[in-house]
Symmetry: C2
Subunit: 409 residues, 2 copies
């Protein structure tokens, strides 16, 4: 049961001019399941992407990096579920390249104009023949208003498709943003078995696309965690189809740049939150804010220790205000010269700990009240400076164990 995450409604997802989507059932791992999704861009779209930092990154990531570095524009994104094509060595690379070549032939574009994405089980050979056999159906399905089908087509253990849209005024034109994401486990900053595809019809200069994409990831997907496992396949792709008629955005700090970034960030953040809300076994959505740090980096260390602690996460699952576990996580986060006497802890509006000890006015009933909510904010003040950071996570429940113990069965 996802936490406060309704299914998207197809009519509310805005088509992006210059981009069509086709989805097919290729039977990659299971029959009768949408498992192949094709994004096809008109020529001259601008594309950027950021990928997992996992050194065991999957073959398709390596191929994406090659193709993004090659001359000529990207025309298609090809996404399969059911198989991650990771831990597959040189053979996996060949298979990933072959899917690009095969799709390129059908579309009349070079294989290098295709970016491949895979998600699913690791260390099994990618069934290329099934993907190739599914391509004609995906092409036949191409439509501009297929965003909900795209969100469905990229799901693995997700229980709800994830898609959001937004609009903004950029250079006197109304520009649209629509994005989809998937990923419910193996989620942590930098990034997860997380796939995100965000498109806008705004005109954006290719020179700022990479920075824009990285900013989006840092403000959204790189700030969520479910279980601390960084996947081999994480990818966030940003596409600008350059069809809205605005003067191309070439400076992200201009008024136009900021308006566009805000709209994109809104979609990216909702997509990232949706991943946590649909986190494997999640029953609660937890916002962890750390303030008063000497640096953002140390705030992130502390937020991360809290958000990853199995003891903290099981306490949230149990609605048990066993809040000393949060203080313990603050203590082992890795700030070598942290003084306990400077620490303040709040749970929503409840002041739990002051100067490193229980607040005199704190009543367990108040902590209990907040812990029962489905949305909870943990706020820690370090008393060391003015930096702050926020992470989003979920609790750790029986269902997390069930889902991951049974994932392949």
């Amino acid at each position: 049961m996802p936490v406060n995450l309704p299914s998207p409604i197809a009519a509310e997802l805005l088509p992006i001019k210059g981009l069509r989507i086709g989805v097919a059932e290729a039977g990659i791992r299971k029959a009768n399941r949408k498992d192949l999704t094709l994004f096809l861009m008109d020529p001259d779209a601008s594309v950027a992407a950021v990928f997992t930092k996992n050194r065991f990154c999957a073959a398709p990531i390596l191929v994406c990096r090659e193709h993004l570095g090659a001359p000529g524009s990207v025309r298609a994104l090809l996404v399969n579920t059911g198989n991650a094509n990771a831990g597959t060595g040189a053979d996996g690379l060949q298979r990933a390249r072959r899917t690009c070549e095969s799709l390129g032939l059908l579309l009349g574009v070079p294989g290098q104009a295709v970016l491949p994405f895979s998600t699913g089980v690791i260390m099994e050979p990618l069934p290329v023949e099934r993907i190739e056999a599914g391509l004609p159906a995906a092409i036949a399905d191409l439509r501009a208003d297929n965003w909900l089908r795209a969100a469905q087509g990229i799901m693995t253990t997700d229980t709800v498709p994830k898609a959001f849209s937004a609009q903004a005024q950029v250079g006197g034109k109304t520009v649209r943003v629509t994005g989809v994401s998937k990923g419910a486990g193996m989620i942590r900053p930098n990034m997860a078995t997380m796939l995100g595809f965000i498109a806008t019809d705004a005109c954006v200069d290719q020179s700022v696309m990479q920075q824009l994409c990285r900013d989006l990831a840092d403000g959204s997907f790189n700030r969520v965690t479910v279980d601390g496992d960084t996947s081999t396949n994480d990818s966030l792709v940003l596409v600008a189809t350059n069809r809205a008629g605005n003067k191309p955005v070439a400076n992200l700090d201009s008024a136009d740049g900021q308006a566009l970034r805000l709209a994109l960030q809104g979609v990216a953040r909702r997509l990232a939150h949706a991943i946590v809300r649909d986190g494997e076994g999640a029953t609660k959505f937890i916002t962890v804010t750390v303030e008063g740090g000497a640096t953002q980096q140390e705030c992130l260390l502390v937020a991360s220790a809290i958000a990853h602690s199995p003891l903290v996460k099981t306490a949230f699952f149990a609605s048990d205000p066993n809040l000393g576990r949060i203080l313990a996580a603050v203590g082992y986060a890795g700030i070598g010269d942290l003084e306990q006497g400077g620490i303040e802890l709040f749970l929503d509006d409840v002041h739990v700990a002051t100067r490193g000890g229980r607040h005199p006015a704190y009543q367990e009933a108040d902590g209990q009240r907040v812990m029962r909510q489905s949305e909870i904010t943990v706020r820690v003040q370090l008393g060391r400076g003015t930096a702050s950071e926020t992470l989003w996570t979920c609790d750790l429940s029986h269902d997390y164990v069930s889902i991951n113990a049974d994932y392949r069965s």
Copy 2:
């Protein structure tokens, strides 16, 4: 159900000359439970200790550090369960000091000759009066052959008391080693809600005690992990009562030093393994060995990523050879220049992956066979050098979530 961990037998635990133990039911958190344990040493014992690196370390740890730095020898260790006296600020420090003073008065020794240890719930005031009321019963119970009662007296969520003995020849004399430990959750290297008390009757020069204690911790308690949470209260104490009549060991690299260290390390490692075998919800005991690293540090990073991964741990629980999850953990462990093509993965005798991809001869049935065992060794070769490291951990089960969701209820 602990993994292959029988309860110790009182008669097999060797008394240590010059050390007596008393246990009492002080009703600290629950009635009718052994929750107060006193170790009383004759004068002139040598004592050393290592403590948690958690910056939110508990009040008793701060007091232990003060007292170890004070002149005069340590005479008593006082351990309570039911309350960790952590996250309790200045008031917690006062309470910890008061228990030492009160015990000191009863024993006729300075308060500084007492080291206090607490384990249990965080951020609640230590019930000093109950501890004080329990002290006479603990003193009345003092006996040299009370080691099994000590192991019982320090248990929290442990299901089995943990105690081991060994003997060695040092300087022509037979010396004895006996130790106890507790801790089943909040366990990770450096260290855990782990308490360990190891004593020997060997004569050991105080000048080498601290190094010896640190070596013991590094080879045992700092190499086990259950859930990655580093506790506020972890402590390992080494006592040498100096009664065996051997020439005092003043050089750990001498033959005598090595013989003593080996005996101590054997006990320390069995105590540490026992914590994992009795890990909260554990159904399997996993040894993670990483070989072929450029440095020990990078081997430890990789072993730690594998041992902490919830995805890897749930796969072990499910006996599911979803071994790509191990490769993924290797990839995100933090070695920036790791080459996948150099990675070999073994599960016991089964060669699972070679050159970063599935081994051609690997059959899932072979992986399945090993995964069903209750004791499993994961071996990763990095192909970068000659360093190696080993960690011990357990799987992640439904019961882990249950135990930690219900711990205080």
